[in-house]
């Protein structure tokens, strides 16, 4: 149980995340769900604290990078009484295949959850083959 809980916590990204960063913030790896439907691959990432303006999605060659910038909390002279989480930016990269139609990728952010839809290219779609009865 103990370990399961640890697993559910936000996890900090291992130190240099790809390149040197220009912001001195902690970086977390967002938790994602990825599933495939007949039409598309869908990626859902939990990124509490981001909105549509603060998420950047870049696709360079085969690497899809999600970056979310979270504003530093305003402390207002408050002291921390108890803490379970820390705020920081989010970053995670995925390799995608040619089977994704890159022109039609769409993204949506709602309530701190990013939803990326990666539609499948025509050639990669599942085709059903009709079986004829042999008489």
């Amino acid at each position: 149980m103990e370990k399961a809980h640890v697993d559910l916590q936000k996890q900090q990204a291992p130190t240099p995340v790809e390149t040197e960063r220009t912001r001195n913030r902690k970086v977390y790896v967002p938790k994602v769900d990825i599933y495939e439907t007949r039409e598309a691959m869908v990626l859902i990432a939990d990124m509490p604290g981001v909105d549509e303006q603060s998420v950047d999605i870049t696709l360079e060659k085969n690497i899809l990078t999600i970056t979310g910038n979270v504003e530093a909390p305003i402390y207002d002279g408050k002291t921390l009484a108890y803490a379970e989480y820390d705020t920081g930016d989010y970053q995670r990269a995925f390799t995608i295949s040619d089977e994704v139609d890159r022109e039609r990728i769409t993204a949506m952010v709602k309530n701190g959850v990013l939803r990326l839809t990666l539609p499948k290219a025509e050639k990669a779609k599942v085709k059903k083959i009709a079986i004829k009865a042999d008489k």
Partner: protein, 167 residues
């Protein structure tokens, strides 16, 4: 004020020390070592796959509590939820946060490749100190982060009296 009493769900100590020490090479080594050990032991228990099992995938929101002499704020990370999914109950000396993070059901026949996010209902009880004004409590939901503000009563705001030390 918030000592162990609030900690039942905090099985893993969270380091709240500011990140200033990160420039120190020794501190960096120490953090890397800690991460190495954390990752190792994490691997022995629940891997990413076991999170799909019942019970383990339960969603538990993380909380931060801050205070100054005027008010107390509680923040919870609740990604993918909105104000309709959460219920906040305030009693004299505790605040209960209840809700359910629902899994979307709209897509039929989807095959999962990755399942790291967790779902489920949760309930957390946060013990509160005396001297809070329950009538003026406010809660806001923004970008998947819930913040609850509890102002302190006038009587409780009076600062500690300083006692001069005579030589």
């Amino acid at each position: 004020m918030f000592g162990r009493s609030l900690l039942p769900s905090l099985w893993n100590e969270v380091d709240v020390s500011p990140s200033r020490s990160e420039g120190n090479p020794l501190a960096v080594i120490q953090r890397d070592m800690n991460q190495l050990f954390d990752n190792f032991f994490r691997g022995m228990g629940a891997g990413p796959l076991s999170a799909t099992g019942e019970g383990l995938s339960r969603f538990v929101p993380s909380l931060d509590v801050r205070e100054n002499d005027k008010e107390l704020t509680i923040k919870a990370e609740l990604p993918g939820m909105d104000e309709k999914d959460v219920e906040i109950l305030l009693t004299e000396n505790s605040l209960t946060l209840k809700g359910e993070k629902k899994e979307e059901k709209e897509d039929k026949g989807k095959n999962y490749y990755h399942m790291e996010r967790s779902y489920g209902s949760f309930q957390r009880v946060i013990p509160l100190p005396d001297g809070l004004d329950a009538n003026k409590a406010e809660a806001r939901f923004k970008k998947g982060v819930l913040s609850i503000t509890l102002p302190k009563l006038e009587a409780a705001k009076t600062k500690a009296k300083k006692i001069s030390i005579k030589s």
